[in-house]
Subunit: 527 residues, 2 copies
């Protein structure tokens, strides 16, 4: 049985400090449910003493049963010169009724004398008394030794005294914080090893990523004996973020031989991480270790050949172990071996050297030059191949369209409408719709006209719509790339359009999306 | 004098393997110039044997003088069973005439037997002969021991033999590669320490970020004796990317006491990194250590108070050391201390407790609820404050506007046009323009109408235009947030607009951008 590492998630507390992140109470509840399902041990969900929204959240969450996780309220040691019973922040924490609490206190003398301006002796009392008070209320108490590593490097004796005060007060765990994110991995290893020998209760680690080292520092601390790891999902956090639990957990469990989550949950890590990103409206870069869309994506020609022979040649773990998947990307560098796979789905007789393959490659290069990127838009490539091979008969043609956006001082709101005229097998159909903006109006009008011929179009929903300005330096006259993700409840597919005009780019992607749906239906029926 | 670490940049070679990155020849030349100016020691710029675009690049770059950097062409050891003189890839490398070459070879037995399918003995010959051949041509040769750490863990004796073969052949540096990115920091330290003792020539380190550890692993290797560090700017690279030199360099120089770049160049690191991101059309997340927009951004109320007292309280290095800057962010959590600073610029008599401050706060909260984010759009906040305090008299009002997008089957191209009617001091002006899309047409029409009253409007250019879909789950009917960056050659400012309609959102930001320009001109004149 491998040794357990307690996972302490602070996505909703320290993660909420990230620039661009703002959780509603509803969002927070959904994140708690996701983390609990995953098997996270502690969920630090807010700072009730400093934030009225967090108080509302803690009231709401009281009625919700968690299966595994302990909910944690966060706050600081009592203020200097007052009794613990009189501290408003501690009162707010107790009112949350969470089983766990995390209390930060100072261990760097500079912060005590220059920032909170109290004495070193009083600070130790603040720590010990706060721990004792919360333990007497039956709480599971983590002491967050803020700026511990900076404090230790400056005055090791006092930093240790601060930890001893927390231990003396009855804390269950001493989390050593690299609050400013400036400590190096070998320093972490050395300091944690030393501290470990002086304490009888477990140590935790809490790292920030200002030096790009938060994950490594967390792993080094566990390697040196820490048994609780604090972090946030996807590394959300102030400045450069916190230690990313979606990276730490698979490293600990798949490589270092520790136990964090049930294997079945680790095998769903990618979808759990994506869910949290969606709730937070956080744009993933795709480069996230283990869970990113690119994490197991192969682009170089030599690498693709090797991965086909044996995935271990260029993959450090299997994508399945974390619920991710392998992707083979198209690009000028990856060359024909990628394209030929897609071409062979349509016509198995063609080879890398066929004229048809050259024609498809040339067309892709030409579109790439115009600003297209087909990575992630494989359904647009499939259509392109069928068109180049002369195998695609369009299901409809767009004859005319017109969009109108209008606002007059007699009418407050902007009105957007669109008229489209399509043709199916020589038969024209015109229809119109109003919408939220010209693209939405066009989308609606197009579907209305098409449903006359293809009733199944009504099954399709657009599930995502991304706009990327390609050359933002020429500002509003830049080219834009629009990616549209669609779903019919069975399948999900993505299409791409590029133009200097956002409406035209959207329309290209919309038309491809509908053509792809109709083609897939036809193929399903023919099977 | 601190010890020199040679910085080996592979942005244009390994970085070009990143999903979403595609450099033109022109882009590559601009990146080389940026890296050379910065003082990077080696610039690995392409793989002439596998990529015709890279051959074109190496021909173009021959005419360009570099001040400091050695240009490096990349390729593999000769193929099995042929003479070095007959190897087409090596020929292509020599034709580049670069002073440096980097040659990768195998050191993991699994790759030799299962992927390239040759014998272990022949592989050692391939390494040694390739080194000797290139040294005889006077090249500065780096041997990239591909998959070194995986190879070493599997068969340390053979991995060492591969390095010894390269040393015997005359290589100048042995770069140990964690090609799959799966090695842990303490393993790197241990292995590099051991290898160091067995080699007489310098070691280098080349890490990938699949475990989120590339930066840490590079630092651990230098700590253990490596003296050349390979990486890419901003960590571009296949899958999860390569080691990020923009993070490694300041860690080595500001914290570990090594020398990489001239201090003056380190102090421009942020702008150099941004320049490379712009050339690559790579969207920065802002969370990049040292150089990201959020790297020194403070959001939590307590943190802001502490940073005001002493920046060292929550900053591990000073932003100036890397050419970045401190930012104080507005948010529900940061509260009044941030807003009051901006309010006091307009009216120094107001305090945190003034009714006016409450009104401004309420208005900001209301807009944030609607989807606005003012982080990064401080000029929109300044206007908002003036409006709420009743101090802003708009320079113009927009009375009516209309946009038309039209495409008919008789006319191939889409035509977008806009009509606007504005009013300045009771006097109306109507004008129209065609443009690339409705927003561009509106922008042009609005400027044409306004220039009649305010000729200085002609100085303003839009320098950036960003569209973010806020709630992408409702797809084309989602809300969009538009950020517009403008410049008049003296100042740069950013404005934000939110709406379900992209045209309206753009228009809100455009109007604010123009109002801000006219207000700034007025303030400059009154000074």
């Amino acid at each position: 049985m491998s040794e357990k590492i307690l996972v302490f998630d602070s996505t909703l507390r320290d993660g909420a400090q990230a620039e661009g992140i703002s959780f509603s109470v509803e969002d927070k509840i959904r994140v708690v449910e996701t983390l609990d399902k995953m098997g996270i041990d502690y969920i630090e969900a807010g700072n009730p003493g400093s934030n009225p929204k967090d108080i509302e959240f803690f009231n709401r969450i009281k009625g919700i049963h968690l299966n595994h996780a302990k909910l944690v309220a966060f706050g600081s040691t009592r203020r200097g010169g007052i009794a613990v019973e009189d501290d408003a922040n501690l009162k707010a924490i107790l009112e949350t009724e969470t089983p766990g609490v995390a209390i930060f206190g100072k261990s760097w003398t500079f912060h005590i004398t220059d920032i909170i301006k109290t004495t070193l002796a009083e600070n130790l009392k603040m720590i010990e008394e706060t721990m004792a008070y919360l333990k007497a209320q039956g709480k599971d108490v983590t002491f967050d030794a803020e700026h511990f590593f900076d404090g230790y490097k400056n005055d090791p004796a006092y930093a240790i005294e601060a930890l001893l005060a927390a231990q003396e007060g009855g804390a269950d765990c001493l989390a050593l914080c690299d609050t400013n994110g400036g400590t190096l991995p070998y320093e972490i290893q050395e300091i944690v090893t030393t501290v470990r020998q002086k304490m009888r209760i477990p140590l935790g680690i809490h790292c920030h990523n200002d030096s790009g080292l938060a994950v490594a520092n967390s792993l080094m601390a566990v390697h040196a004996g820490a048994r609780q790891v604090q972090g946030t999902f996807l590394g959300y956090g102030e400045r450069c973020g916190n230690a990313n639990l979606a990276t730490i957990i698979p490293n600990l469990q798949l490589k270092m031989g520790f136990h964090c989550l049930a294997d079945a949950e680790l095998q769903k890590l990618t979808s759990s991480a994506i869910r949290i990103a969606e709730i937070s409206n956080y744009a993933l870069t795709g480069r996230e270790p283990f869970v990113g869309k690119s994490a197991f994506a192969h682009k170089g020609g030599m690498h693709i050949d090797a991965v086909m022979k044996n995935p271990a040649s260029f993959e450090h773990v299997s994508p399945e172990a974390v619920g991710n998947e392998r992707r083979i990307l198209m690009s000028e560098v990856s060359g024909r071996s990628t394209i030929i796979q897609l071409i062979n789905e349509v016509d198995p007789s063609l080879t890398k050297k066929s004229d048809e393959t050259t024609r498809v490659m040339d067309r892709i290069k030409e579109l790439e030059y115009q600003g297209y990127q087909f990575e992630g838009a494989e359904s647009s490539v499939k259509l392109l191949i069928r068109k180049e091979l002369g195998l695609h008969k369009p299901f409809f043609t767009l004859e005319d369209f017109k969009t109108i956006g209008e606002q007059t001082h007699t009418k407050e709101a902007l009105s957007s409408s669109a008229v489209v005229k399509i043709n199916v097998d020589g038969q024209s159909e015109i229809n119109a719709a109003e919408g939220d903006g010209p693209v939405n109006a066009l989308d609606k009008a197009l579907r209305k006209a098409l449903e006359v011929f293809y009733p199944k179009i009504s099954e399709v929903r657009l599930t995502d719509f991304k706009v990327r300005v390609i050359d933002s330096k020429s500002a509003t006259a830049s080219k834009v790339r629009v990616l549209i993700e669609s779903s019919d409840g069975i399948d999900i597919w993505t299409n791409v359009g590029v133009s200097t005009d956002i409406i035209e780019a959207s329309l290209i992607a919309l038309i491809d999306s509908i053509e792809y749906k109709l083609l897939s239906d036809e193929e399903r029926e023919n099977k």
